[in-house]
């Protein structure tokens, strides 16, 4: 990993290679609101809508197929696509706001030793999503955006609204 000395800071900071992945729609909008946390690192964005490339032109963008649990065939294609990308890119970190594409990224990331984080959508106000509950078994960290939904395995650290 490249070590850089930051001119105005006294310590060296390691630049991380981050995959930031989310389905189109609310998941993507929420992911973009996390961007300040990625400052200074290499970020590869992934989503299911190719036109999003124009909204984050300073970063690499890769399009992935859409898929959800109600279409098994599309889900398999999605898994293979994501798996190939994660294994090729070898990210240090994977951050996702859901849904299925993000879950597959986390699973493959776990296989190759990436550090992974699932942020459950703010839309899930009454209970954590099924994907979020599955992510608990794979991700290093799973966050909910509602304090009332936090438990021993799913933590609350704030939400995407400021």
């Amino acid at each position: 990993m490249l070590r850089l000395s930051q001119g105005c800071q006294s310590e060296n900071k390691t630049i991380m290679k981050i995959i930031a992945i989310a389905s189109a729609g609310g998941h993507w909008i929420q992911l973009l609101r996390l961007m300040p946390a990625f400052d200074g690192h290499e970020v590869i964005f992934m989503s299911t809508n190719p036109s999003f490339k124009d909204t984050i032109s300073d970063h690499e963008f890769l399009c992935v197929p859409d898929g959800n649990r109600w279409n098994k065939f599309k889900l398999i294609l999605l898994a293979l696509n994501i798996g190939r990308k994660v294994i090729r890119i070898k990210p240090d970190i994977i951050i996702t706001t859901g849904a299925a594409p993000g879950l597959f990224a986390i699973v493959f990331g776990k296989l190759i030793g990436s550090k992974t984080l699932w942020l459950d959508s703010i839309a899930n106000v009454e209970k954590v999503s099924l994907s979020g509950k599955i992510a608990v078994f794979f991700a290093d960290k799973v966050h909910t955006q509602w304090k009332s939904l936090a438990n021993s395995k799913i933590t609350y650290a704030g939400n995407v609204l400021s």
């Binding site: 729609g25 946390a37 990625f38 690192h41 839309a123 106000v125 939400n159 400021s162």
Partner: protein
Amino acid sequence: MIFVTIGCQEPFERLISAMDEIAPAIKIPIVCQTFPGGKPIKNMQVLGFIPAQEFNSYLRDSDLIVAHAGMGTIISSLVLQRQIVVLPRLKKYGETRNDHQLATAIKMEELKLVHVAYNEVELKSKILEALQKHKELDCKIGTIASQSLLYSMKEFIEMQ
């Protein structure tokens, strides 16, 4: 101009039909982004699926947004300081797979961030109510996540 949007995942005929019916009474132009193939629309300008930047332009140029209760649309509208009226998709009509939009709408209304029409009958009155309010929201949201979440993310990323 009122911009009507149903998100990018599924059609939402109940909202589109209701808006087409009440459009003449609203008396301001309505642009509607929807999936092709539904009932013919008589009283609104129709757009199909449009790229993200074009979508944001319509949000920005609108006086009011009317939408399903999707968080993406809600957040985008709030960032642009546009009033938004939402009609939640409901599982009982096959509009979505569970009622999370209803839960979202209730919570967002509690936080005074959106107007909610709980059925299509309430749409017209909620729209007229929202149009009467000042263009700027009482409760603004910024363009980024809360400081505590960003700090937590940054710590996670940079922790060796």
